[in-house]
């Protein structure tokens, strides 16, 4: 096959307007796949909170985060009031309804709502707008994309989940008569709180990501995510309350919200307030193990979805 010269001399511009200074090349650094992955994780975190978007898209994520720190704020307010009248004793601690151990059941539905609202933004939108081929013909492939997106969702959930725990921790330390003693008293709760936060983020995040990736259309996606957490919970409630034995036991494990409640009661070593966890008859440690199964399964579905997605 014969050849011919490719183009004219460099910098030659034909027929441009006066604005056109010609095309210029790029000789700078290229960060490749790692750079693109980091940028996509950061972008996903921003997207989850509506940053760089219209004010309207910030309402839901920011609103939910504000609601999530309300219980902690309330608890701190009460603690300060009690402090003003006299030192809060053991008795007060025991009856206080808002503690590290009881925080998760209070904010659980907010975490589900956050995912139902924001996971479709991260996983459905790009499938709808047809932008995926542009990603996949760049530095990252489908699996990179899925991992970066889910990491971004984890990070945004971490902010949501950590905020109430941290607020409670910092508040209680500051309210304490002696800062050092206060810190010493709070530290033992830090480990189970961190472990619980991690389980919530990974479990709810992975499941929501998998569901959202399978249902590109936003409305369906939101409904499906709420459905997964709600319907399984209703099912478990029915099976457990009718005392169906092993069916109830399995149903409790098939309901992610109850699995997390069970893990919470194991990690903080408290009597479960959740009737399903209290009555299903599973070992409480089983719930911790089950979160791992849920996380692994959901991630497998997510990656499979993107690996087989035709773009």
């Amino acid at each position: 096959m014969s050849t011919y010269p490719s183009g004219g001399p460099a910098g030659e511009v034909r027929g441009g307007s006066i604005y056109d200074l010609g095309y210029r090349g790029y000789e700078g650094r290229r960060l490749g796949r790692r750079g693109a992955l980091t940028a996509l994780v950061a972008h996903s975190l921003r997207t989850a909170y509506g940053l760089g978007r219209s004010a309207r898209s910030k309402v839901v994520p920011v609103g939910i985060t504000v609601l999530a720190v309300l219980p902690s704020t309330l608890a701190l307010g009460v603690l300060m009031l009690v402090n003003a009248v006299g030192a809060p004793g053991e008795a007060f601690e025991a009856i206080s309804p808002i503690r590290y151990a009881t925080l998760f059941p209070m904010i659980a539905s907010l975490v589900f709502l956050f995912c139902a609202a924001q996971a479709p933004e991260l996983f459905g939108r790009d499938q709808q707008t047809g932008v995926l081929p542009l990603y996949f013909s760049r530095a990252i492939g489908p699996l990179d994309y899925a991992l970066a997106r889910v990491l971004g969702l984890y990070l945004s959930l971490a902010v949501l989940v950590a905020a109430p725990y941290l607020l409670l921790l910092i508040g209680r330390v500051l309210v304490a008569a002696d800062l050092f003693v206060g810190l010493q008293e709070e530290l033992p709760s830090l480990l189970p709180a961190a472990a619980m936060g991690l389980l919530v983020v990974l479990t709810v995040g992975s499941i929501s990501a998998a569901v959202a990736s399978l249902t590109p259309r936003r409305a369906y996606s939101t409904a499906a995510i709420i459905g997964v957490f709600l319907i399984t919970n209703v099912g478990a409630t029915m099976l457990v309350s009718f005392d169906t034995g092993v069916f109830g036991q399995v149903a409790a494990l098939l309901s992610p919200s109850d699995v997390l409640d069970g893990a919470n009661s194991y990690l903080f070593d408290i009597r479960p307030t959740n009737v399903i966890v209290a009555n299903a008859g599973n070992e409480r440690f089983t719930y911790v193990l089950t979160t791992a199964v849920w996380i692994g399964g959901a991630l497998a579905v997510l990656l499979y979805r993107y690996r087989t997605l035709r773009v």
Binding site: G7, Y23, E27, G32, G35, D126, T129, P133, S137, R138
Partner: protein, 337 residues
């Protein structure tokens, strides 16, 4: 080709990409060998395509469904070939995907722009996704948006853009990481004639003089004819024709003589003079044997007392390419111009 070519993109490398181990002037842009793509249900999109494409502006032409988009997607690594191999810049599309993607920009045919994001934010994000650092991405975004002619509109959500603006953003995101090869899939899709002209100008300007090669898929011969230097025609996954456009649009060695009447008579007389002719009532095609052919024609026209309407060397058009007996199939139907 020697083994182990490696595209180097390090910070202080020269502008044109450096290929180690390959003599770059000889290097082909794209080399296909028996490339085949079968979709489930026994649909054959590409059938044993073997072809070498040299750098430049290349028109990839074929009817809708001829396999153009499939070929483009295989070159990008978005699709896996069923059989055969494809190389871009002598890099294998399956095993060296990552290296190829640094060198290639892709403008898809379909809609791919999120409506609530501004053009500027979108192109900037795509630059980051190509691995450009934050500051560089911003700078390049401004640069390519200016190059494609998008000014104040760049800060508006893309949902408010006209089709012309959308096509420009699509081109800008393909260019933002300064690729060495642009793959454009029907870049004038949906544009009005003026927008079409502007887009083709832009494609031509981009592909001329910046060391960027372009493969432009289109079902419109006229567009290919206008900007491309090289033509690849495919039909039902087969290679129909691959050649320089010069070969087809240059003089053909034929004179067109148009007269008001008695064309057949003129043809006969010229034939008697030893020229090969083909004539009907008003048009005579005469084989050009040199400058004296013009004189001969004029003499005979004058002798017959005819009015000469037109006398000029015939340029063959791209349509001829498909009318000529091609090795493959029925080309006229394959590519509507």
């Amino acid at each position: 080709m020697q083994a182990g070519p490696e595209a180097s993109w390090s910070g202080n490398s020269p502008r044109r990409f450096v290929v180690v181990g390959v003599d770059s002037p000889d290097m082909s842009l794209v080399a296909l060998d028996g490339l085949t793509k079968r979709y489930p249900g026994d649909v054959v999109a590409l059938d044993g395509l073997t072809l070498t494409i040299e750098p430049g502006i290349v028109g990839l032409v074929g009817a809708n469904g001829a396999g153009k988009s499939t070929l483009v997607k295989i070159l990008l690594g978005l699709l896996e070939a069923s059989a055969g191999s494809a190389r871009v810049f002598d890099l294998d599309v399956t095993t060296q995907r990552q290296a190829i993607r640094q060198l290639v920009g892709y403008m898809p045919e379909h809609d791919c722009l999120p409506p609530d994001i501004s053009g500027s934010d979108f192109v900037n994000h795509m630059a980051r996704m190509s691995g450009l650092p934050r500051a560089a991405a911003r700078e390049r975004t401004a640069e390519v948006l200016r190059h494609v002619g998008l000014f104040e509109e760049r800060y508006r959500p893309m949902g408010t853009y006209s089709t012309g603006m959308k096509q420009r953003v699509k081109l800008a995101q393909a260019l933002v990481h300064d690729p060495r090869l642009l793959l454009l899939d029907e870049p004038t899709n949906g544009l009005d004639p003026a927008g079409r002209d502007e887009m083709l100008d832009l494609v031509e300007r981009t592909g001329t003089g910046f060391g960027i090669s372009i493969i432009m898929a289109s079902h419109l011969l006229g567009e290919i004819e206008r900007v491309a230097q090289y033509l690849v025609a495919i039909d039902s996954g087969h290679l129909l024709r691959a050649a320089h456009l010069d070969t087809f649009t240059q003089r053909t060695g034929t004179l067109i003589v148009e007269v008001d009447e008695r064309g057949a008579e003129l043809g006969a007389r010229l034939g008697a003079d030893g020229l090969t002719t083909r004539a009907d009532d008003t048009q005579v095609l005469v084989e050009l044997q040199g400058d004296q052919t013009y004189d001969q024609v004029l003499r005979e026209v004058a002798a017959l007392g005819l009015a000469l309407v037109r006398l000029e060397p015939r340029r063959s058009s791209l349509e001829d390419l498909f009318r000529d007996p091609a090795p493959a199939a029925e080309p006229d139907e394959a590519v509507p111009a």
